[in-house]
């Protein structure tokens, strides 16, 4: 499957015609303001006229910093996965000295299991573009770009939207579209800065962070596109409105990509704190939370948990970029994880020894555990390599991969035991978790 094919079209995902509405469709009816907020109610991309009719022009504040207080009160956090308070990034950028900063909306979700940023850009491009302008004004920037994976259809749509806005005089700063290569790590902040500076999209050592020295050496604010869309709504309706969804600690709504055990996939907008059982059709033997750098949880445990970091963090899991997958009962969790880890290993940028030496060895050992009668040595190797690579890369690729592997070893402990005796609970070898076709091993592939 290519990234292109994962682009949701009208009639796919949450809004699939003729399908029963997914359980999440109920989420807005709890009296705390209707959802979806970001996505259109009907599965039709919002054009500029409709956008202006519904939301009006972007409410510029007339000077830098003025929006930041509202963002702080709203409690908006980064929706790219790290959940870092957005106001802190804005405030630090606005307070910094030197030339005006660069602001980049990050829509390059490298995660093959996530489609929410592509969906948002496809269906609600103008909310993202509003947010980009408002964030740029808040930090006093006039250099603005939108960073997406290479995708001709999405690119054409966004280029047209940007041109239309320019003609209408809506944008204070011209928006450049930057295309990222189809690599898992291309959306990593320092890789983004490298690509936007004209180099390859490779993660760099920090410091300096992009916020200190990013695109062409300038201070650079990188915000996930969904974060920007929320920001555009906070600027209009205020923090109180934003907080009317979600929990007091984790307010607002978020986009989630759901992979149901029956193979259906969709993007939904849900309030933070929504029970996972309301989003996925359970029971399932295990649930993957947070995507391929995320965590497996036993199905019985996930069933009782809300989609909120307060509940997930103590278990070593996190909401991340909102990927939830229910493992079908006829698949082997070890085999699924082994496929994913093999993919992650091959997505190593090949820069840091612990990563390009460690992840393929872990993938090899996990592949053996996923097969019949693995050598006991494979399990020991996997434990040892996990300890050796965690925390030792320029980016968090090794750490995220180790997190996934460790959770699989725990959640699928019984399965490991079965395999040792030559037995597997999976009855079909058909792959479940989505993976792109294998990338060519070419340096040009990172440009």
């Amino acid at each position: 499957m290519t990234h292109h094919a994962t682009l949701p079209r009208p009639g796919h995902g949450q809004w699939a015609a003729g399908d029963a509405p997914p359980p999440a469709a109920r989420q807005g009816d709890d009296g705390r303001g209707p959802l979806p907020r970001l996505m259109p109610a009907r599965p039709v991309p919002v054009d500029l006229d409709e956008h202006l009719g519904r939301f009006g022009a972007p409410p510029y504040r007339g000077a830098p910093r003025r929006l930041i207080g509202d963002v702080e009160t709203a409690g908006l956090t980064g929706r790219g996965g790290a959940a870092f308070p957005t106001y802190r990034k804005l405030a630090a950028m606005a307070a910094g000295r030197g030339p005006a900063p660069v602001v980049i909306g990050n829509g390059a979700e490298g995660e093959p299991a996530s489609s929410k940023d592509k969906s948002l850009l496809w269906f609600s491009p103008h909310l993202v573009l509003d947010g980009l302008q408002l964030a740029a004004e808040a930090v006093g920037s006039v250099t603005v770009a939108l960073y997406i994976h290479r995708n001709p259809r999405l690119h054409a749509r966004l280029a047209a939207a940007i041109a239309e806005r320019a003609t209408a005089g809506l944008d204070a700063a011209a928006v450049e579209l930057i295309e990222a290569p189809h690599r898992f790590l291309a959306g990593e902040e320092s890789a983004l800065a490298g690509k936007a500076s004209g180099g390859p999209a490779l993660p760099r050592f920090k410091p300096p962070r992009a916020s200190q020295r990013g695109v062409a050496g300038r201070r650079t604010l990188v915000q996930n596109v969904e974060t920007l869309a929320h920001l555009a709504l906070i600027a209009r309706y205020g923090p109180g409105w934003f907080r009317s969804a979600g929990t007091p600690d984790e307010p607002g709504s978020m986009l989630a990509t759901l992979h149901q055990a029956d193979g259906r996939m969709g993007v939904v907008e849900t309030a933070l704190g929504t029970p996972i059982a309301d989003l996925l059709r359970l029971p399932a033997p295990a649930v993957l939370v947070g995507g391929y750098h995320g965590t497996w949880l036993p199905g019985a445990q996930a069933e009782r948990l809300p989609l909120a970091n307060a509940a997930l963090r103590p278990l070593g899991a996190a909401v991340g970029a909102g990927v939830l997958a229910a493992l079908p009962g006829d698949r082997c969790g070890l085999a699924e994880t082994a496929r994913v880890v093999r993919y992650l290993a091959l997505e190593s940028a090949g820069q840091c020894g612990p990563c390009f030496n460690g992840l393929p060895r872990m993938a090899g050992a996990l592949g053996e555990l996923a097969g019949p009668r693995p050598r006991p040595q494979a399990y020991a190797d996997l434990q040892r390599w996990s300890g050796l690579v965690a925390g030792r890369g320029a980016c968090h690729h090794p750490d995220g991969t180790v997190r996934l592997v460790r959770s699989a070893l725990q959640v699928f402990a019984a399965e490991i035991d079965h395999h040792a005796h030559g037995y597997c609970t999976g009855t079909t070898g058909r792959p479940f978790l989505p993976l792109p076709a294998e990338p060519p091993l070419d340096d040009a592939d990172w440009k």
Binding site: G350, P360, R361, G364, G371, R375, L441
Partner: protein, 209 residues
């Protein structure tokens, strides 16, 4: 052989510390190449190789400092303070001492940028560190050219040995770089090796099926 007297002590000290400096700088270059190739010394973890490279380079700075100071204040020849850092302005042996000044300047830049490494980008530091390959031959030329000590006997053998060692290490580094798997292929290369190894181990283990 002349006896060491009060008036010749500085001259002898300068020559001796010069020889030790050259020896230390040679070791620093060899260890630097070893660090670059992520090699090990028997019985030492890899961070200790890096530590040794750093410690010896700081020690070399001390010896070079004594070597330069004693040469300047020695009344035998007049060198002048400016000639220490500005090449080819010395009254005594302007060319060969000029090479010494060049080497000193290069070493100073290498040491200072390494001490300030936390404040520099990795690329800038790496780029500057390449100067080490220029500094060492210049220092060797200065040693041979400005003193007769290295032109015979044991010290000549030391100079030849050092040159051969550095040349061999340089070639080893070049060969290693040529053998290196391109960045984009590294993970796939390791994965293929791992799977090959596992297959062999399972065959030996009499593994399943």
């Amino acid at each position: 052989m002349t006896a060491i007297t009060g008036s010749t002590a500085l001259w002898y000290a300068s020559r001796a510390t010069g020889v030790v400096s050259l020896l230390l700088l040679t070791l620093v270059v060899l260890l630097g190449i070893l660090v670059n190739r992520q090699g090990r010394l028997p019985g030492l973890p890899s961070f200790a190789v890096t530590g040794l490279h750093r410690s010896l380079s700081l020690m070399a700075v001390l010896f070079v400092a004594v070597h330069v100071v004693t040469a300047v204040i020695d009344p035998f020849v007049s060198i002048g303070l400016a000639a220490v850092v500005i090449p080819f302005v010395s009254a005594y042996q302007p060319f060969w001492l000029g090479l010494g000044a060049v080497a000193l300047d290069l070493v100073a830049v290498l040491i200072l940028t390494s001490l300030a490494r936390a404040y520099l980008s990795r690329r800038l530091w790496r780029g500057i560190h390449w100067l080490a390959y220029a500094a060492w031959p210049v220092a060797l030329a200065h040693s041979i050219g400005s003193s007769h000590d290295l032109r015979s006997g044991g010290l000549l053998l030391m100079a030849i040995g050092s040159a051969l060692a550095v040349a061999a290490a340089g070639l080893w580094r070049l060969a290693g770089t040529a053998r290196e798997v391109p960045r984009a292929e590294r993970a796939a290369y390791v994965l293929a090796g791992t799977q090959r190894q596992a297959r062999r181990a399972r065959a030996g283990h009499g593994g399943a099926r």
